[in-house]
Symmetry: C2
Subunit: 408 residues, 2 copies
DNA sequence: AACCATTTATCTATGGGTTAGATTTAATGT
DNA sequence: ACATTAAATCTAACCCATAGATAAATGGTT
């Protein structure tokens, strides 16, 4: 596949996206403010806004009188345009979140999933249940739904549809999923979702390059370059969790040895602790999220358990080295961190990781690198996959061209 | 730094580049052929060609009569437009290559450099010597030179200018270099150079993503995405040689432990052999290029030395694992290999590496990945850095806009 | 020798994009 | 009432690409 050609239509498409992003992050803005925020001329903003107004994507939300002069009409994304659902299918739970068309969260629902019970029909049924619960709580009718985004772990790609790093039979049968949902569905993987969330609701558009790391059961990277998500030739880019940290190191659940995930995934952190203090009570905690939570509380105590402190130190070192590899290869302007490990351990982990990255990165590459906890609120996977569904919808409306490279 | 805005001028700039690339790879072509090759309309090609004709970049090289009909005017890049010099500054030598404006090689000169004699004045003097020798051999006057490209190892970046992975005092003083040469100079690092060469003279433009690996004393990756070189926030992207292969592994000359370069750089391969057979005569060969050459001859024998075979196997494994990391993170459509290690060992190494990458890459990510020896002839670093100088010249002429993001 | 068919290159009209600057609109202040 | 001010829109100019008409140049045909 050769390089894609850009046409002047794509420029308009990008201008529309820029205006929508500016509006999303500002909440409400006048045309003039949008022009200043996007760098476009007021004339262009006016025509773009009129496109979006006639598509019902934005609304005029009243006039505000300034000191003197013509009053400014305030613009907002039109939440009432419809509903978008984002569904985060994780290893142990499925969470469905309903958003309005301005990407404000309305309601959510979560169902537990038995990790060892992975048949397609079972998972699809649980997913449908989460979707219906969430819609009911949001008071949304099926007709209101503009699109449903589903994030599945593992690489999603055409034509094989889903190629899994961690095998799970359910994802080979997307047709059943579509049939059962009966609404416009887009499927992608969590890394592309968090990157999209960062691009619309976070830092992605303020920097020419950014990587967002998802740390939980699995770990991975969402890579954003020049305002676009790096998907790679097979939509596989960002599987940093399965890049090598240690040759012939710990066995990873993907089958390979020495993957980053085997060290800084939640189970990997537990293994680190078990290596330091095999008899430690936390080392045998069966639930990953409980384990991470307990680790956080242990660290918060006045004089923490040395084994716990050492676990954090080593994890910071592993993570620092793995992030340094990303710096060496991609050299991003900033890195954001997300995922439930970060929500729980961030206060202790992030400062240590910052120090480690500077040490481990080649030369002074990381000297000016910003490493921050993501500013995206809520579940970024659900937010991101819903955003991808919204992008797909906008593309179907003819408002977007090039920027809808969703996987499926 | 935010995302850069694209304007319609950039589209024309890309069209001009596309036409020039098509012309470079075809050697000679009619306007119609260029239209077919680029996917542009004949009208656009005609206007672009007339721009390039009036800039003297292309020439009409005679008419050819077909069977019937109006004869086709053949177009070529105008080599007589001037001369471009590419200078590859390596650890042990400096090579200057003179090209005509159609990027055909005219002459070259090489001077040896004492690795331990790294003062700025010394290196600059050697470089100037190589440049003058090459110009003389090419019969080129200084006035003919449109630009000089200098490739320096290590990251080159603003504002610190050159930030070295492997320290060398000389590169802190680019002003002296510029003063001594007295011609338009661009400086960049070898990874960006090989990527540029791949983009103009190789496979880069036929694929939406491509990585070219340089294997020699140092190792690194040139990353090409959507027809553009990935430079990163500090022009540091592609320093894959200093990403981690083995935590706490072999000490690397960059100071870190376990870098890819410490395993698959020429010195690393020798260390692998020394680990297998400490008394092996090749293990104490003092010159790296001699060592690699001797390894290649040993492998070509009917029944090769088992230590040598084992060295190749392990190197393939290291390289396969390191490439698998690139696949996991970037997921390119193809990978090309270059550098003198590849020229010498490619026949034995590449097939083994291909197998290893498929095994080591997560899931079936590498199943369709093409791994080939680069088709760029000659010294790709010199070719690439000369091409960057040509791009800079075209930019100064007003023929190119966005695509001249050279470092210095 | 005049004319037709054929192939290549250019010209023209159309449509999409952006923008600076003029103009209109709608408030406040005197 | 009228000037002032600020926001939004309109207008004209200038980019870009393309389809389709037109012109150019030749070999073959009558």
């Amino acid at each position: 596949m050769a390089v894609t050609r850009r046409t002047s239509r794509d420029i308009r498409s990008e201008s529309r996206l820029d205006v929508m992003h500016a509006l999303l992050s500002a909440g409400a803005a006048s045309r003039g403010e949008l022009a200043r925020a996007t760098g476009l001329s007021t004339a262009t903003v006016a025509t773009v806004v009129s496109d979006l107004l006639s598509g019902g994507i934005v609304t005029e939300a009243g006039l505000t009188n300034g000191r003197v002069g013509r009053p400014t009409t305030t613009l907002r994304l039109n939440g009432d345009r419809g509903r978008i659902v984002g569904i985060d299918v994780a290893e142990t739970y499925i969470r469905a979140v309903v958003f309005d068309a301005a990407l404000d969260e309305l309601a959510s629902a979560e169902v537990a999933v038995d990790e060892h019970h992975g048949e397609a029909d079972y998972v699809v049924a649980r997913l449908a249940r989460a979707l219906e619960d969430a819609l009911e709580r949001a008071g949304a009718a099926r007709d209101d739904v503009l699109g449903v985004g589903v994030s599945l772990p593992g690489g999603t790609q055409r034509p094989a549809e889903v190629s899994v790093v961690v095998p799970n039979a359910a994802w080979r049968h997307l047709d059943r999923l579509r049939e059962r949902i009966g609404l416009p569905v887009v499927v992608d993987n969590p890394l592309k979702a968090i990157a999209t969330a960062e691009l619309w609701s976070g830092e992605g558009r303020r920097h020419s390059s950014m990587i967002t790391l998802n740390l939980g059961t699995g770990v991975g990277a969402g890579i954003v370059l020049e305002g676009a998500i790096l998907r790679g030739a097979r939509n596989f880019a960002g599987e940093w969790g399965h890049s090598l940290l240690a040759l012939d190191g710990r066995r990873c659940r993907c089958g390979r040895a020495g993957c980053v995930e085997a060290y800084v995934g939640a189970a990997g952190i537990q293994r680190t602790l078990a290596g330091i203090a095999p008899e430690h009570p936390l080392a045998s905690e069966p639930m990953q999220r409980e384990f991470i939570g307990a680790l956080a509380s242990a660290l918060a105590r006045p004089s923490p358990d040395p084994a716990v402190t050492e676990t954090l130190e080593r994890t910071a070192r592993y993570l620092g080295a793995a992030i340094a590899d990303l710096v060496a290869i991609v050299d991003p302007e900033m890195i954001t961190l997300t995922g439930w490990t970060v929500w729980a351990l961030g206060d202790h982990l992030v400062p240590a990781v910052r120090r480690r990255v500077v040490e481990e990165a080649p030369g002074d590459a990381a000297a000016e690198l910003a490493i921050e906890v993501s500013t995206v609120r809520g579940n970024p996977v659900a937010t991101g996959i819903a955003t991808i569904a919204l992008e797909r919808f906008l593309g179907d409306m003819g408002l977007l061209t090039s920027r809808v490279p969703t996987a499926l």
